[in-house]
């Protein structure tokens, strides 16, 4: 009866992505439940970003099917996927470089939530309202007039997330949201991701090399290697999985990670 509640929001079935003869994504199966945060780790070149490109329609799958909220989106383009409620960030500091922060977000809040057949001559109230909310939520209000290329690194990262949020997604894909940030800055982004989930169950997939971030935020972790999934499960299991330790973490990092996981388990999420 209550099947729909357990139906995954996103489902990848037998997904391949070839670049020439190389399978950057190799027969991947993945389910993401409504409201969960899935963390994806794995060495450089494992195919994580390529998987996001495939899901978000930027670079369509060579084979397999992807369904989002019960609809087949395998062949949909990025614009359609955005309008369907799936939003992503890019690994490299991607913004509209010459536009002020506010206009960056206005673009997303006006064109993102639904198809605009023919634009009006002004951004409508709804887009302005969403933009105000997102700016406030991501603590970018003081930066709204700054041209994106002149932003400090933390605010650039926040802008990328803000712009993705402004399309009103139900599923958010974050590609290395804290890459290049220092410890304090990582805390800021971590607190933001936690706030995002407080009220309504926003579903998130995040790729991250910073294991502390990945472990602290994810309900479930997947590790990719050579385009395939080599681990799927709770973060606690990562350090006990010999393959993950061998190909990704290494012995030293695995021990440090064990520490971090311990801390997480004992102190919980009281930071938020």
């Amino acid at each position: 009866m209550d099947d729909s509640a357990h139906e995954p929001l996103l489902s990848c079935r037998g997904v391949f992505k070839y670049f020439g003869a190389m399978a950057a994504v190799d027969d991947l199966n993945l389910d993401v439940q409504q409201g969960e945060v899935l963390g994806i780790g794995g060495p450089n070149g494992a195919g994580k970003t390529t998987l996001f490109d495939v899901i978000s329609g930027l670079n369509p799958a060579s084979a397999g099917t992807i369904t989002f909220d019960g609809n087949d989106i395998t062949k949909a383009n990025p614009v359609q996927i955005c309008h369907a409620g799936l939003s992503r960030t890019y690994q490299l500091n991607a913004a509209f470089e010459t536009l002020p922060v506010r206009e960056n977000i206005l673009c997303a809040s006006y064109y993102g939530p639904r198809n605009v057949f023919f634009p009006k001559l002004r951004f409508d109230r709804e887009a302005q309202r969403i933009t105000d909310e997102v700016l406030e939520f991501t603590e970018l209000l003081d930066y709204e007039m700054v041209i994106a290329r002149e932003l400090p690194v933390l605010q650039r990262k926040l802008l990328m997330i803000a712009s993705a949020l402004a399309t009103r997604p139900r599923l958010l894909l974050l590609d290395e949201p804290v890459g290049g940030l220092n410890v304090d800055e990582i805390e800021v982004v971590m607190a933001l991701v936690r706030r995002m989930r407080e009220d309504r169950p926003l579903t998130v997939i995040l790729i991250e090399h910073v294991m502390r971030f990945l472990v602290a935020l994810s309900d479930r972790v997947v590790v990719m290697h050579h385009g395939s999934k080599i681990y799927e499960g709770l973060a606690e299991g990562l350090t006990k999985d010999q393959t993950v330790v061998d190909v990704y973490l290494g012995e030293g990092a695995a021990r440090r990670l064990e520490h971090i996981i311990d801390e997480e388990l004992h102190h919980g999420h009281d930071a938020s």
């Binding site: 930027l58 955005c82 470089e97 605009v116 909310e133």
Partner: protein, 362 residues
């Protein structure tokens, strides 16, 4: 997601204030320039100067529309003069063969130019950056070659043979704007002067509204980062075609006005010299900026007058100026003025510095 409700103090205040400030500045600059332009003929500067001003109005319109495609949307099209030429040619052909007044033909020319512009925009869809330059330049060269090599007799007037398009000499005797018949002989240049001015005003308002609207934001977003724009719901194909269509209209209309003003139109309009001349206006003024085309047009036309005696060297000078700006002053004269304003004037004038003015994108 907990999104707090909009704060009472209205966070969009600073941005909205900056927009209002920009609008006031635009109106001030616009009215000042307009007042000067309205007064100039009263000082009876002579036929030559009036003619140069009329030409300035036409080129300023063409460069303003070009800026939408090249500067705002970042699609490096060099086919602007081809659109201008074909719009004007359509009106001239209608005048020549069907004796339709240029006043009506101009609208057909404008609509035809929209069509041509959209086709060119569609042809460049799969290309990026420098390849767009190559393709669009090739289109212009091919159109010029086609008209120039058209020497087959289409009809005879007495013993003289006329090709369909007029061939290398182009078209003549297709009528004009008629100011000579309506106004005294001496007053006729005033007719085209004020018509040109009126069209420049309308054309500038049109371009400014587009630049400031969500259209402009979509064009700039695609220019800055196409994959990101598509992931935020902005479809490249749609907006690229749209910007070509929007800019094509006034470009074609001005082509017809050019034909009506000079009472001749020919393939020489597609010469590289002229393209470079207009391109230097675009670059010197500031790509993508609102006032860039008009300011660039003023600077280059004045420079052109000053360098009259240089002959062939003029084109080399314009080439050098263009390259210098592209390499050293990417943002053009408008960019320089803006950084002086923000970096030097605003911090030193107390009543300005409390207006947080870091400026908008254009």
């Amino acid at each position: 997601m907990t999104i707090p409700s909009t704060p009472a103090h209205g966070s969009s205040g600073a941005y909205a204030a900056a927009r209002r400030q920009d609008l006031r500045l635009d109106l001030a600059i616009g009215f000042a320039l307009l007042a000067i332009a309205v007064i100039i003929p009263i000082l009876s500067p002579g036929k030559y100067i009036l003619g140069q001003f009329t030409l300035f109005f036409i080129w300023a319109c063409v460069v303003t529309q070009w800026n939408l495609v090249f500067g705002v949307a970042g699609v490096y099209s060099l086919a602007q003069m081809a659109v201008f030429f074909l719009g004007g040619y359509a009106a001239a052909m209608l005048g020549f063969y069907l004796e339709i007044s240029i006043w009506y033909g101009a609208w057909v020319g404008a609509v035809f130019a929209v069509f041509v512009s959209v086709v060119i925009g569609a042809a460049t869809l799969r290309l990026q950056g420098p390849y767009v330059l190559l393709l669009t330049l090739a289109i212009a060269v091919v159109i010029q070659a086609l008209v120039q090599s058209d020497v087959n007799c289409f009809f005879y007037e007495g013993k003289i043979c006329y090709p369909l398009t007029g061939g290398p000499r182009g078209l003549m005797k297709f009528g004009d704007l008629g100011f000579r018949d309506w106004l005294a002989y001496k007053q006729a240049p005033l007719g085209t002067y004020y018509l040109g001015l009126l069209l420049l005003v309308i054309n500038t308002i049109f371009a400014f509204v587009i630049i400031k609207s969500p259209f402009g934001s979509a064009f700039r977003a695609l220019r800055d980062n196409q994959p990101l724009a598509s992931s935020r719901g902005i479809a490249r194909v749609k907006y690229q075609i749209l910007v070509f269509a929007l800019s094509g209209f006034f470009t074609g209309l001005m082509g017809s006005v050019y034909a009506g003003h000079f009472r001749t139109i020919g393939p020489a309009l597609l010469d590289l010299d002229l393209l470079l001349f207009l391109f230097s206006m675009l670059v010197v003024g500031g790509l993508g900026s609102r006032w860039g085309p008009i300011i660039g047009c003023i600077i280059i036309m004045v420079a052109n007058e000053l360098m009259k005696d240089l002959g062939e060297w003029r084109m080399i000078a314009f080439g050098a100026i263009t390259v210098a700006f592209i390499v050293l002053l990417r943002e053009g004269v408008v960019g320089v003025i803006q950084s002086v304003w923000r970096g030097y004037i605003v911090p030193r004038v107390p009543w300005l510095s409390d207006v947080r003015r870091s400026g908008l994108a254009e």
